[in-house]
Point group: C2
Chain length 309, copies 2
């Protein structure tokens, strides 16, 4: 989207949008229409920042933008967590733009110009436990803007995948699946680590084999062992085995969540990951639409617009 902005237009920066996650810090200057004018990223995720150094690190990364353009900054992600800059309480579901905007946590609001705010994450209640997200809510809001949808199932695959139900433009509830983390644990620390090949070429056939096995419903505690026994009997090589295991865990997520073909399903995330999910969903006959990292900027832009209403 940014590339469509002609340099000659000299658009005014209207928002400094920042996604401050566990392992990365990404920022963008957006104009009044939400177009990206400039992006800037670093590896200074919150886990690399000492507790009293968040303001300093933020200033070092985006101080020149603030000085030059004088606009507000909105920060989503783990910056609002216990280990982040300022702990920002979760906004309980159902939550849309208005609820989240009302719970923004302004930093040093009395003295600081221009103002910087941290976007709260969302929480919801399952019968057995609460559930939480930080950062994904902004991507969902952005995806709503980009697709025009105000209802649907919004899915954010990752270390901790989120499946969010959206109704009337508000997140009514969501579920976390530790799918990416389970894959990392199994492929790096389990007995399977010895037989798995290095992360090589993606093997679609082995991946779909894993998805289909998972969808049969025997449960991951059992099916994961098949990655070992198939290798032991030389029925799968080391390279396809990694794709097979990826299919097992993603298939297990789908088995648990049971998305239906009648649902409108939006996948938000990296191309590599959303393409795997789209492939797995197709094996259940579920169609999906895919969006990438542009959702974050679109979400923070829409949130900033809510503030100006």
């Amino acid at each position: 989207m940014a590339s469509n902005t002609p340099p000659s237009a000299h658009p005014r920066t209207a928002l400094i949008a920042v996604d401050w996650g566990t392992s990365a810090l990404r920022g963008a200057r957006l104009d009044a229409d939400g177009r990206v004018l400039e992006e800037r990223a670093s590896a200074q995720g919150i886990l690399t920042v000492p507790p009293d150094q968040f303001a300093t690190v933020f200033e070092a990364n985006y101080g020149d933008w603030i000085g030059t353009y004088g606009t507000i900054s909105l920060i989503s992600g783990m910056a609002g967590s216990q280990q982040g800059w300022v702990q920002t309480p979760y906004c309980p579901c159902p939550a849309g733009f208005d609820e989240v905007a009302a719970q923004l946590r302004w930093i040093d609001a009395k003295t600081q110009r221009p103002r910087i705010a941290i976007v709260p994450g969302l929480s919801c209640e399952h019968p057995h436990a609460p559930d939480v997200m930080r950062g994904e809510e902004v991507q969902i809001f952005g995806a709503m803007q980009l697709t025009g949808l105000r209802d649907g199932l919004f899915v954010l695959p990752g270390t901790h995948s989120k499946w969010a139900q959206v109704q009337g433009g508000r997140v009514t509830g969501f579920k976390t699946y530790m799918t990416g983390e389970f894959y990392a644990l199994l492929s790096q620390h389990s007995i399977l680590a010895k037989t798995l090949g290095a992360d090589g070429a993606f093997d679609a056939a082995a991946f779909c084999q894993g998805v289909d096995v998972a969808l049969q419903g025997a449960g991951l505690l059992h099916t994961a062992f098949s990655a070992r026994s198939l290798a032991l009997f030389s029925r799968l090589g080391a390279t396809p085995l990694a794709s097979y295991l990826s299919g097992l865990v993603i298939g297990e997520e789908l088995r648990s969540q049971q998305p239906q073909a009648s649902q409108t399903l939006i996948l938000i995330g990296s191309d590599a990951l959303t393409s795997r999910y789209a492939m797995a969903l197709a094996r259940r006959g579920v169609a999906s639409q895919r969006l990438g990292s542009e959702s974050t900027w679109a979400g923070l832009h829409a949130l900033a617009q809510t503030l100006q209403r």
Copy 2:
């Protein structure tokens, strides 16, 4: 059982029974009735033994017994694996005493007196993959002897739990669940590791809470995250959290396996583990009978008797 043998009886050693696992080496002298006369264990599991040193390590541990008593030795467990002493092909299910006895792998049979044999593991075929065990088959055989049962569901909880269906004294099939390994991965290497207390006192209430959550069927990829969110909202402390997570994984195993109250269910393993499984099974209304490590010696004894028929 051994303690019931009066020393004055001077019973003759009829078998040197050995369980050579991944991380431990355990041996026992048994008399003709299967009574344990002496036990001897070391930490010399197969992973500690260089490929060409198995005979030496075995001699160092049990050479005096062999010299003194001159009986055969039967070795079960991972000694028959690729990384073990002599690779011993799996015996395919259905398999009972006769099938396993016929596939014993005799070591240096021509020259060596008295003879030493490795007991083969079992294999079976699921629609999606093969399944394997090494060592548990001997415990199942022993449990059959000790209980007099020739039919039932025999469950061996552990790093890789085995659920074996026994009919007419033969194992007709079985399923592996990586339950113990998943617990170790989650409690040591996942995001939960930070919030989990050190392995402290077992909290039965938290354990049962975890079992019940798992049995509701949302799937471990989702329920595991509740261990984090319950801690985040201070609804479970660090110490009960470990028991809760244990309940989640064991409950997930039961959810997948779905044992029925009408089944005869035998639990074989350490007291700490079988008592947790018995507690979890009770929440599904399934009764169980528990056996310990005596099953291994009883199984190897029964196998030796099969040889003499």
